[in-house]
C-alpha cells in the first residue's frame, strides 16, 4: 500500500487465526480448574417488586451445594459508570427493578445441582406497579423506580450552541420529524462467563471482557481490595460489541462465592440470561428539527430526544450524551440545540452497543435530511455535499476535526454505486439511498475519572533477538487488535511481524490500557506501541553504532536489518545486535504510553464525543421492495470510508462488513420485544432475528486517501463507524423505492407493508396518516 512501510499497510494474517480454526483457542467457558465449582445467579421474575424475604435454607441443604449468597453476603456498595450515577448493587437489597434483576447466587458441584438449588430459594415479593415506556415513566404519578431519582429521570441534558431559534426564524424552510428507535442487543455468539479464584487475599478472574482494567477497578472497589491484588485475565473473547465492557455481575458473584468456598467458581449466563442482563442499545424517541436556506444549507439543528435507559445507569450517561454530541460531526453548521432525557424504566438496563448512542439519532437525522431535500427539490446526495464537513474545522459543540474526507467519501460512493444513472431512473419498487456517518477514534477522556494514561505498552526483545513480545493491555475481542498492534510494533522497531509474540489484556503482566471500546485501540494503544517500538529501535541502533563503529544517527533498521543510510553495504542483523545488547546491558525493552491532548469545551458534558480524530463514511444501498408484502430485498451496499492510514486492509474490511451486517440487522429485523409484564418474548437467537448468510447482500467496501495528523502513522477508527449510517441509508432507499417513510425502527416488512397500505388509502382519500407516529409516543 505504501512503500515507505515494511509491515503496516499489509494484510498479514491474524495472530490468532490458526488457533481459532483448529479449536485450540480457549475462551473463558472452555477453562477448567481443579476443584472448580459452577455458579449461577438467581434473577427476579417480576419487573418491579419489593423483596420481603429471601429464604435460602432449602437450597443450602441440597447435597452438592457449597454456597448460597444474597445481598447479605456481599458489599452493598453501588456501582455504575460514574459516581453521580452509581445505582446498581451486586444483588438487589430492597427492590427488584426488572425481570432478570440479580437476587442471589449459588455455587455447587455441577450445573444440574446449581439449577435445582436456584429453584429451592424462596423469595417473597410484594409486586409493585411497573413502567415500561420512557415517556410514561417521566409523567407525574408514574411508579418511582429509584428513590433517588424523581420522575425517573436518570440523566437530563440541555445543550445550546449558537442561536437555533434565530436560525430557524431566518431559515427558508424548517422541518420537524419524529422517529422511534428500538431496543437491540449485541448478541455476541459467546455467552458471558467468568471464573473467579480467591486465594489468600488475592483474587484472579478469567473473564470474557472488553476491558480487564475496568473490571479490575470495579471488582477491587467493591471488595475493598488493592488493585494489585485483583488480577483480571482476558481469555479469547467471542465478540463483545459493547456488551462485555462493564461488569456483568458474574465476576462479583463469582468472587464472593469463591471467597466463601475457597474454590474456583465458574459463572456463566445462558442465552436468555444474556438478553435479560442486556446493556444493549437504547430505544430512543427522536424529534429532529432543521432549518435550511433555499440551497439546502443547514442553518440550525435541534435534536430533542428521550431514551429508554432501563432499570440502571449502566454506561447510559455516555450513551445519552453521545446521542446528540455526534450529530454535529458530519455537517458544517453553527447553531445546535440538544435536549435529552434518559428515563429509567422497569426493563433491562441499556448500555453501549457498537456506535454507542449514535446510530439511532443518525438514522433520524439522515432520514429527516432526505425529507428536507425532497421538500426543496434537491438531490439528497447533493444536499449532503453542500453541507459536508471539511478538514480542520470545529463543530458547534467544540470538537476539533483534523482530517476529514467526507466529501471524497460521498463522491466515491456516488461513482461506485452509479447514483447519477440510478437516482430517479430505477424501475418501480427499486430504490437507492444514501447516508453518512462519523465516529470517534477513542474517547478523549477515560471511562472513569482518572489521570492514568489512556494506553501503555512494553516491548521485550528476546535474548537472542529471534523474537520480540509486545505486552499491552489492549483487548482483542476478535477485531484483531493483537495483530494490528504487533504490525505497528514491528514497523516501529524495524522488525518482522512474523517474529512478534503478544501478551495482552492481563492486568498483572501487561501495562494499563482501558480496553476495547469507543474504537480507541488502533489510535490510542497504537500510539503507545509505536513509542515502545521506537524506544527499542533507538537502543538497538546505539548498540549497533558501537558494534559497527558508526554514529547511531547514521543507522536505521528495517525488516530485521540494521544498515547505514550512507553506506548500504555496512549491515548487521537485528538479532545479532539485540543479542549483543543483552550480553552487555541486559534486557532490551521499550516502553510507551499515550495520553491525548486536552480536548473539547468547558460546558456540561463537553468531554463526551471528544476524540483525537474522527472517521467519516458514506454508505449507499440499493433495495427492491415487494409491494404486496413489504419484503425488503437489499441488492447491494457500498461503504466508502475515511479511516486514515490503514494498518491491515483485510481486517479493516472485516470490520466494515461486520458493522454493516449489524446495522442491516438493526435496520430490518432486530428488536428485543417484551410482554406487558416486562418479560422478554424473544430472548433467543431463533426469534431475535439477526441476519444469516443468506440474508446478506453484496457489500463493496472502499476507502479514500486520508492521513490523520494526530495519530500514529495517520490512523483512525473503523470498527464502529461503519454501523452508523446503515439504518438511515436503508430508510432512504426504501423511501426512494416506494415513496413511503417508515418512522420507526426496525424498518420491518410489516411496517413497510402498512406504510404502503396507508399511502394507498391516503391517495384514495380514505384516511389521514398524520399523527400516527405521535399516537405511539
Amino acid at each position: 500500500m505504501n512503500e515507505n512501510y515494511s509491515v503496516i499497510g499489509k494484510s498479514v494474517p491474524k495472530m490468532d487465526g490458526r488457533v481459532k480454526v483448529t479449536g485450540q483457542a480457549k475462551y473463558t467457558g472452555d477453562l477448567k480448574f481443579p476443584n472448580m465449582l459452577v455458579g449461577k445467579i438467581l434473577t427476579s421474575p417480576h419487573a418491579h417488586a419489593r423483596i420481603i424475604s429471601i429464604d435460602t435454607s432449602k437450597a443450602e441443604k441440597l447435597p452438592g451445594v457449597k454456597a448460597v449468597i444474597t445481598h447479605r453476603d456481599v458489599p452493598s456498595l453501588k456501582y455504575g459508570i460514574s459516581p453521580a450515577r452509581w445505582d446498581e448493587n451486586i444483588f438487589c437489597i430492597d427492590k427488584v427493578r426488572f425481570v432478570g434483576d440479580k437476587v442471589a447466587a449459588v455455587a455447587a458441584l455441577d450445573e444440574e445441582t446449581v439449577y435445582r438449588a436456584l429453584k429451592l430459594i424462596r423469595v417473597e415479593y410484594e409486586v409493585l406497579p411497573a413502567v415500561f415506556d420512557p415517556v410514561e415513566a417521566i409523567r407525574e404519578g408514574a411508579p418511582r423506580i429509584h428513590d433517588e431519582y424523581p420522575m425517573n429521570i436518570n440523566t437530563e441534558i440541555h445543550q445550546n450552541f449558537g442561536d437555533v431559534e434565530k436560525a430557524f426564524a431566518e431559515a427558508h424552510h424548517v422541518r420537524t420529524d419524529l422517529f422511534m428507535g428500538q431496543r437491540t442487543y449485541q448478541c455476541p455468539i459467546e455467552p458471558h462467563s467468568a471464573i473467579s479464584i480467591w486465594e489468600g487475599g488475592k483474587l484472579t478472574v478469567y473473564s470474557s471482557t472488553q476491558s480487564p482494567h475496568y473490571h479490575q477497578y470495579y471488582i477491587a472497589r467493591e471488595f475493598g481490595l488493592k488493585m494489585g491484588d485483583v488480577r483480571v485475565i482476558k481469555t479469547f473473547v467471542g465478540g463483545g460489541f459493547g456488551g462485555k465492557l462493564e461488569p456483568t455481575g458474574l465476576e462479583f458473584a463469582g468472587a464472593a462465592l469463591s471467597r466463601i468456598t475457597g474454590r474456583p467458581v465458574k459463572m456463566f449466563y445462558d442465552r436468555h440470561e444474556m438478553f435479560a442482563h442486556n446493556r444493549g442499545r437504547h430505544r430512543q424517541i427522536m424529534e429532529v428539527t432543521t432549518g435550511v436556506d433555499k440551497n439546502g444549507k443547514i442553518l440550525g439543528l435541534h435534536a430533542n430526544f428521550i431514551m429508554d435507559g432501563g432499570a440502571y445507569t449502566s454506561l447510559g450517561i455516555a450513551s445519552a450524551y453521545y446521542a446528540g454530541a455526534m450529530l454535529t460531526l458530519t455537517y458544517d453548521f453553527e447553531n445546535y440545540k440538544f435536549d435529552m432525557i434518559r428515563a429509567y424504566t422497569n426493563l433491562p438496563a441499556c448500555g453501549a452497543q457498537r456506535g454507542h448512542g449514535a446510530p439511532q439519532p443518525r438514522y433520524a437525522l439522515e432520514a429527516h435530511l432526505d425529507m428536507v431535500a425532497r421538500d426543496l427539490g434537491i438531490d439528497p446526495l447533493e444536499l449532503r455535499l453542500r453541507n459536508a464537513r471539511q478538514p480542520n474545522t470545529i463543530t458547534p459543540n467544540e470538537f476539533k476535526v483534523n482530517s476529514c474526507e467526507l466529501t471524497a467519501c460521498i463522491e466515491k460512493a456516488r461513482e461506485l454505486s452509479g447514483w447519477k444513472q440510478k437516482k430517479g431512473n430505477l424501475p418501480s419498487g427499486r430504490g437507492i439511498g444514501l447516508a453518512v456517518g462519523s465516529f470517534v477514534s477513542g474517547a478523549g477522556y477515560p471511562i472513569y475519572r482518572t489521570n492514568l494514561p489512556q494506553a501503555a505498552a512494553i516491548i521485550k526483545v528476546h535474548e537472542d533477538g529471534s523474537a520480540a513480545t509486545l505486552y499491552t493491555g489492549a483487548t482483542d475481542i476478535g477485531q484483531g487488535s493483537d495483530t494490528v498492534l504487533c504490525q505497528m510494533a514491528a514497523e516501529a522497531m524495524g522488525y518482522f511481524y512474523e517474529n512478534m509474540k503478544i501478551v495482552s489484556a492481563d492486568t498483572e503482566t501487561t501495562p494499563h490500557d482501558f480496553g476495547a471500546y469507543a474504537s480507541r485501540q488502533t489510535l490510542m494503544s497504537g500510539s503507545a506501541v509505536k513509542q515502545a517500538g521506537e524506544e527499542v529501535k533507538q537502543q538497538l541502533l546505539e548498540m549497533a553504532g558501537e558494534m559497527m563503529e558508526l554514529p547511531p544517527g547514521e543507522l536505521d533498521c528495517r525488516e530485521g536489518i540494521v544498515f547505514s543510510k550512507y553506506s548500504p553495504e555496512a549491515t548487521r542483523t537485528f538479532a545479532e545486535v539485540a543479542r549483543e545488547f543483552f550480553v552487555q546491558k541486559g534486557p532490551l525493552v521499550g516502553r510507551g504510553s499515550y495520553t491525548p491532548p486536552k480536548l473539547g469545551g468547558k460546558f456540561k458534558g463537553a468531554p463526551v464525543g471528544t476524540s483525537p480524530a474522527y472517521s467519516f463514511a458514506a454508505q449507499i444501498s440499493e433495495v427492491e421492495i415487494d409491494g404486496e408484502t413489504g419484503q425488503i430485498d437489499v441488492k447491494e451496499v457500498w461503504d466508502v470510508h475515511d479511516c486514515g492510514m490503514v494498518i491491515n486492509p483485510a481486517l479493516l474490511r472485516g470490520q466494515v462488513h461486520g458493522a454493516l451486517f449489524m446495522g442491516m440487522g438493526e435496520s430490518v429485523w432486530e428488536e428485543v420485544v417484551f410482554d406487558k409484564n416486562g418479560r422478554i418474548l424473544n430472548g433467543n437467537l431463533g426469534e431475535y432475528r439477526m441476519p444469516t448468510a443468506v440474508d446478506m447482500p453484496k457489500i463493496t467496501s472502499e476507502l479514500v486517501e486520508s492521513y490523520e495528523p494526530a495519530a500514529p502513522w495517520g490512523v483512525k477508527e473503523v470498527g464502529e463507524g461503519a454501523t452508523i449510517p446503515t439504518m438511515g441509508c436503508f430508510s432512504n432507499a426504501i423511501y426512494d423505492a416506494m415513496g413511503v417513510r417508515v418512522y420507526s425502527l426496525p424498518l420491518s416488512y410489516e411496517k413497510v407493508w402498512r406504510a404502503l397500505k396507508e399511502k394507498k388509502e391516503m391517495e384514495s382519500g380514505l384516511k389521514s396518516a398524520a399523527g400516527r407516529i405521535y399516537d405511539k409516543c
Binding site: 487465526g17 480457549k26 455468539i189 474490511r653 472485516g654 461486520g658 437467537l685 443468506v694
Partner: protein, 163 residues
C-alpha cells in the same frame, strides 16, 4: 446400551462413540447432551456453546459425516456412531484446506462461530465439491456469525473448493 442405576435411582448409560477416529467409552445420563459430553467429559472444547437451543450453530459437529447441532443431540443417540469435531479436522501440523482458507481470507474474527462454520463447510464440500455461492450461503445459514457479515467466510469456503 448398558445401564447402571445410581443411589438416587437415576440411570446411567454406557455409551461407545468414536470421536475423531478415537474410541471412547463414557457413562452419561439419559439427558446428557452430546455437546456437554464432548466438552465436559472428553475436554474437546473446540465445540462451542452459544445458545443451547439449536439456533446458532456454534456446536456443529459431524455425526457420521452429517452436520448436527450437538446441543440438540443426546449423548445416548451418538452411541455406536462416529463424530468429527473441529479438533479432528486437521490431523497434523498441516491445516485442512478449509481451515487454511479461513485464515488466509480473514474469515475469522472472534472465532467463536469458526469451528461450527468449518464443519458445516466441510460437510458441504464433502457432498458438493463445487458449490455455488448461494449453496455455500445456504449450507452455513444455520451458523450465526456476529463479526464478519459472512463476507469473508463465504469467500473462504468458495476458495477452498479450488484444486
Amino acid at each position: 446400551m448398558e445401564a447402571l442405576t445410581d443411589q438416587d435411582g437415576i440411570k446411567r448409560y454406557l455409551v461407545n462413540i468414536n470421536v475423531n477416529g478415537d474410541p471412547y467409552t463414557v457413562i452419561v445420563k439419559a439427558n446428557t447432551l452430546l455437546v456437554n459430553l464432548l466438552r465436559d467429559q472428553l475436554d474437546l472444547t473446540g465445540t462451542k456453546k452459544g445458545c443451547e437451543l439449536g439456533d446458532c450453530g456454534s456446536c456443529t459437529v459431524l455425526l457420521d459425516g452429517k452436520p448436527v447441532n450437538s446441543c440438540t443431540v443426546l449423548a445416548v443417540e451418538a452411541d455406536g456412531r462416529g463424530i468429527t469435531t473441529i479438533e479432528g479436522v486437521a490431523r497434523s501440523e498441516k491445516l485442512d484446506k478449509i481451515q487454511e482458507s479461513f485464515v488466509n481470507n480473514a474469515a475469522v474474527q472472534c472465532g467463536y462461530c469458526t469451528p461450527g462454520m468449518i464443519l458445516s463447510a466441510k460437510a458441504l464440500l464433502a457432498r458438493n465439491p463445487k458449490p455455488t455461492e448461494q449453496e455455500v450461503r445456504e449450507a452455513i445459514s444455520g451458523n450465526l456469525c456476529r463479526c464478519t457479515g459472512y463476507v469473508n467466510i463465504v469467500k473462504a469456503v468458495l476458495e477452498a473448493t479450488g484444486d
